[in-house]
């Protein structure tokens, strides 16, 4: 568009404007050639580019016949397309990168940005302008069907990684869509469910990652979610989309709906949901009618249009000539990210890495060794451009020295479960080491449905038991959407957690098993001992279509820490083949003024015999006097590479805003003054270094009422001075005497101030006079 947006807007009819703010087909935006407006193309998803030629190039639509075609597909047809995924059409092969739950375990901002760049190049080659990701909802419960797409239970880590991905994408000229805004933390009846979230949890946990990503990376679009939040559909939630997103955060970009997520188009536009996706004729008609009858003011329409025109300008400015994509290079990147993300959870007796000289006979078992579970099922599901099968890669990496056997170890059409187990255990017994691949059920996780339990597939657990009975050296490789419970943990010596690590998982696992690479990922969620102990358990999945987030701010490790519970594996945990020693900590500023960030220097050494990477984590403990706080909150991290014997000093920064807490009474952020604790270490439950810092805190004044206690009033110098003056004027005593006496007696007065003054101290003040004295300035 050559003309300015304002000029363009003045040339538009109301109908043009409505067209501009509605989708065009499934994946495009409006085309208005007479105004010089060309359509933008968008596509899913969060870890791979899903391009459907039928739907994008041939303007196909969702059709019931396609859907029925898939439903009627016989089970033995080689297809892993199930349920709602079938609705999203067939897509071109693209690099299937590690899913959010795996990627996040890298804790590596630069690497995540690299993945963003690669996604952008694949988008550009296909003419895609906006990739509908990243999805960053907090992983509140491991049951959530889309947990595999999201990063963490921690908002800071979530926000940092999202910012990195967005920077990578947008730096290459492809727009991001930060989603799903907000509080879509489980899939159970997601389009009807009302997430009831208290204000502190909303700001500190559920919105904080979004704000961080917006502050640091300015995503060109934000996508509203399918659910309701505190009573309102998010696409129609003005408090969320306007008051918080626009006014508090200053977000300038475009808000679009999730696909068919708008239920009332005029209401959604009034709330600040600029673009409704995809094309729905009724949406247009209803919006036109609402403008016609004055329900929606044209200035509201104009504001949204200007945002849309600005987005088009941004995209046109960044659009690059499509270049052929280096798909083998992207596959290598997918392998590399998987290697950086897979977490070594357990390694008894130093079983890993394997050495074919000591353990030449290797039994590989479990169906996922041949057919790895690399991703979840849903709108993000990608047709991989290449696939590393763990078994094949183990054979290649182990080389001709090793004797590798394989069997699935589970029954299928031809083999009974008993026969399969018998073969597997005989192979395991004849080997020096058994590598057992176990996974969660394919297709169970996904959209609009949650997992029913946290167990791995029952036949996989049975396989592990049978193997463990005959073979002491058992390595488990786990492929799962989100955390699972591990009643079988004692049956293996070593455990590699891959989550859904994308198309390069096979090579990554093989390289890690044989020590060509050293594991360096760490958990971004807590692994529970049982479903029943998880923080969201009691009120999940809600009833009568209301889902109370009753654990409040105590999400993930914050809950386990607060209740002093020991999880199966704590947040931040992950082992290495080398050892690291946390040597020293230095807090650069001993006291911290308002609005200042804090620098903490940490020295870490590699004391083992291998090159390795360590993720250094810094947690902050709040004074917790004014507002209750979890014992620890992650505030900074760094991934550092160390040669054997090498020592490095790393500077970590706690940003000024990360000392804040949301005060529900003030409806604002405060920084509580006092002493803050700083702990640094390799996991949230192993923090060998600690220090403190004195923080000045922010100036805030809590609202006082006639029934506020005198103790509270004494804390507020301005109000207290006025109360002292008021009492002095009625009693005839010196103000200084009154002040002293009131301070002394304050702890004894159990009633509110008005009653205390009038009934106990017999000071003749009116309610109105007292309220006047307590009023905020």
């Amino acid at each position: 568009m050559n003309r300015t947006a304002k000029q363009c807007l003045s040339d538009m009819t109301v109908s043009d404007k409505v067209t501009l703010l509605t989708g065009n087909g499934l994946w495009k935006t409006a085309q208005l050639p007479e105004l010089g407006i060309e359509p933008l193309t968008m596509t899913d998803g969060t870890y791979g580019v899903r391009y459907s030629p039928e739907q994008i190039d041939h303007e196909g639509n969702w059709s019931i016949t396609d859907f029925l075609g898939v439903v009627n597909q016989s089970a033995d047809e080689p297809s892993d397309k199930k349920g709602s995924e079938a609705l999203f059409g067939h897509t071109l092969p693209a690099t299937c990168f590690p899913n959010g739950s795996a990627l996040a375990c890298s804790w590596d901002n630069a690497l995540v940005a690299q993945m963003g760049q690669a996604l952008a190049r694949e988008c550009q080659a296909l003419g895609v302008d906006i990739l509908l990701g990243p999805g960053i909802n907090i992983r509140r419960t491991p049951l959530s069907g889309r947990g595999y797409e999201y990063y963490s239970e921690d908002p800071l880590l979530t926000g940092e990684l999202a910012a990195s991905l967005i920077k990578g994408l947008q730096g290459e000229g492809v727009g991001a869509s930060l989603k799903h805004f907000a509080c879509n933390n489980s899939e159970y009846r997601r389009t009807e469910m009302d997430s009831i979230v208290d204000e502190r949890a909303l700001h500190e946990i559920y919105l904080s990652g979004f704000k961080r990503a917006i502050d640091k990376a300015d995503p060109w679009t934000v996508m509203s979610s399918y659910n309701r939040l505190n009573g309102q559909q998010t696409s129609q939630h003005r408090g969320l989309l306007h008051d918080i997103l626009r006014q508090q955060w200053g977000y300038q970009g475009l808000v679009m709906s999730d696909w068919y997520g708008v239920k009332d188009r005029p209401a959604s536009l009034l709330a600040g949901n600029d673009l409704a996706m995809p094309e729905v004729a009724r949406d247009k008609a209803e919006l036109l009618a609402a403008i016609d009858n004055g329900t929606v003011d044209e200035t509201v329409l104009d504001t949204a249009c200007l945002r849309m025109l600005a987005l088009i300008d941004r995209i046109n400015a960044g659009r690059k000539t499509p270049q052929p994509v280096d798909m083998p290079g992207h596959h290598q990147l997918a392998q590399h990210i998987a290697e950086e993300s897979i977490v070594l959870l357990k390694n008894s007796d130093g079983l890993l890495p394997l050495d074919t000289r000591n353990t030449p006979r290797i039994a590989v078992l479990g169906p996922a060794a041949h057919a790895p579970v690399i991703q979840g099922s849903g709108c993000a599901t990608t047709v991989p451009s290449m696939l590393d099968r763990p078994l094949d890669e183990i054979i290649d990496v182990a080389g001709e020295q090793a004797e590798v056997t394989y069997s699935a170890g589970v029954g299928d059409g031809e083999t009974s479960a008993e026969e399969a187990l018998l073969l597997a255990s005989s192979q395991a017994e004849a080997a020096d080491v058994a590598i057992v691949f176990i996974s969660t059920a394919v297709g169970e996780d996904g959209e609009n449905g949650d997992r029913q339990h946290l167990d791995v597939v029952a036949s996989h657990a049975a396989l592990l038991s049978a193997v463990a009975a005959v073979q002491p050296n058992v390595v488990v490789v786990l492929m799962n959407s989100d955390a699972v419970v591990m009643p079988w943990l004692g049956q293996c010596k070593a455990l590699l957690e891959t989550f859904f690590a994308g198309q390069g998982v096979g090579r990554a696992v093989a390289n890690l098993l044989f020590g060509l690479k050293n594991p360096c990922g760490k958990l971004t969620v807590t692994v529970p001992n049982s479903l029943e102990e998880t923080p969201a358990y009691l009120h999940y999945p809600g009833e009568a279509l209301k889902h109370y987030y009753s654990e409040g701010i105590y999400v993930g490790y914050r809950y386990y820490d607060k209740r002093k519970m020991t999880p199966c594996f704590p947040f931040g945990h992950g082992l290495s083949y080398t050892t690291f020693e946390y040597r020293s900590i230095e807090v650069v500023n001993k006291t911290l003024g308002t609005g200042e960030s804090l620098q903490v220097d940490v020295t870490v050494a590699n004391t083992g015999a291998r090159f390795g990477k360590e993720i250094i984590q810094l947690y902050l403990s709040f004074p917790g006097i004014e507002l209750a706080q979890p014992p620890l909150g992650l505030k900074a991290y760094a991934k550092v590479a160390l040669e054997p014997g090498e020592t490095k000093m790393v500077s970590l920064t706690i940003e000024a805003d990360d000392f804040r807490a949301w005060h529900p009474a003030l409806k604002d952020w405060i920084v509580e003054p006092g002493k803050y604790g700083i702990s640094v270490g390799p996991s949230s439950r192993e923090l060998p270094l600690s220090a403190t810092v004195q923080v000045a805190g922010s100036n805030y004044r809590l609202p006082l009422r006639e029934d506020s206690s005198l103790v509270q009033v004494v804390k507020d110098e301005q109000a207290f001075s006025r109360v002292v003056a008021l009492v002095a004027s009625r009693s005839g005593l010196e103000a200084s005497v009154i002040r002293e006496r009131l301070i002394t007696i304050a702890p004894e007065l159990f009633c509110g101030l008005f009653i205390a003054l009038t009934e106990f101290l017999n000071v003749p003040v009116s309610r109105k006079e007292l309220l006047e004295a307590l009023r905020a300035d």
Binding site: M386, L391, I395, D396, E400
Partner: protein, 323 residues
Amino acid sequence: MQPFRLDSAQLDNQGIATAGTCELISYDSAQLNMFAAELSYCQPHWHEAPELIYVLSGDLSLTVHQQEVKLAAGDLAFIGADLIHALETQTGCTLLTLQFSPVLFHDTHPLPAGFAFFTAGQVAAGQLTAQCLSMLELVLQEGVSFFALQAQIYALLACLEVLLVRQPLISAMTVGAADSREEMVIRQSIARINETFAEPLTVADLAEQAHVSYSHFSRLFKKVSGYSPSDYLTMVRVNQAKPLLKSMQIPITDIAGKVGFAEHRAMLAAFKKYCGVTPTEYRKQYYADFDWRADDERVTATPNKPLALSLARQIMRTGSAKP
């Protein structure tokens, strides 16, 4: 045995099934198989249908009836009925192949026999190439008439007939005379390998079954087929393993056993030797190639990668695969 053979119109597994001694070739109503493919080698085999090869790109060595010739892009070769032929390339090559149905011929006018090759740049090669290209143009037309096709096939055969008289490398006469008992012995051994490769078969077993000494058997096998018997046996197993590797269903460790390798390590070594890649890498090459992957049923039936005939035409017209 799976020499390359694929026509775009139809493929049934019988078309490439081995029946005793040689490749069976099935035909559409056109009585001509025409296909293009990328390949790295083709084990010794023979069939009743005469065959004309045009080298689209790369170079290769072709062994026909114990004689080896080198071919490069633009060269052609004609291989008469029932001649044992094999080919091998270091760099990879793409070929356009035309196979003529025996139905095309008549008792009084037999099919051209013998073996000849034509070097690019020569008048003969030019004439044949032009005929092949006309054939290709015709095949790629929609709704072309059966008689038009048939006419072009005979035009091509007429051209071949004349050229074969002028420059045979192996004449039809020679072939008949050399069809000796010795060659029959080897053909039987090849047939045995083709049928029983999945079993633990050794060269000693084969020699014994042929009632000749081990060393004589080895020499004879090499002379007739161009390969040592152990090489041939391994090649057959590798060739059998390839379509299985392309199938996503079978675990790699099972494939080694299914095609007769004693253990997976033997398959690994054989692939390194004959393909320059490990079985894992071979499987991934296939998977990473979207054109190739797009039509699973067609490609899993052959160890080679088929090439669109339209692309073959482009190469023949311009000498390059790039538009």
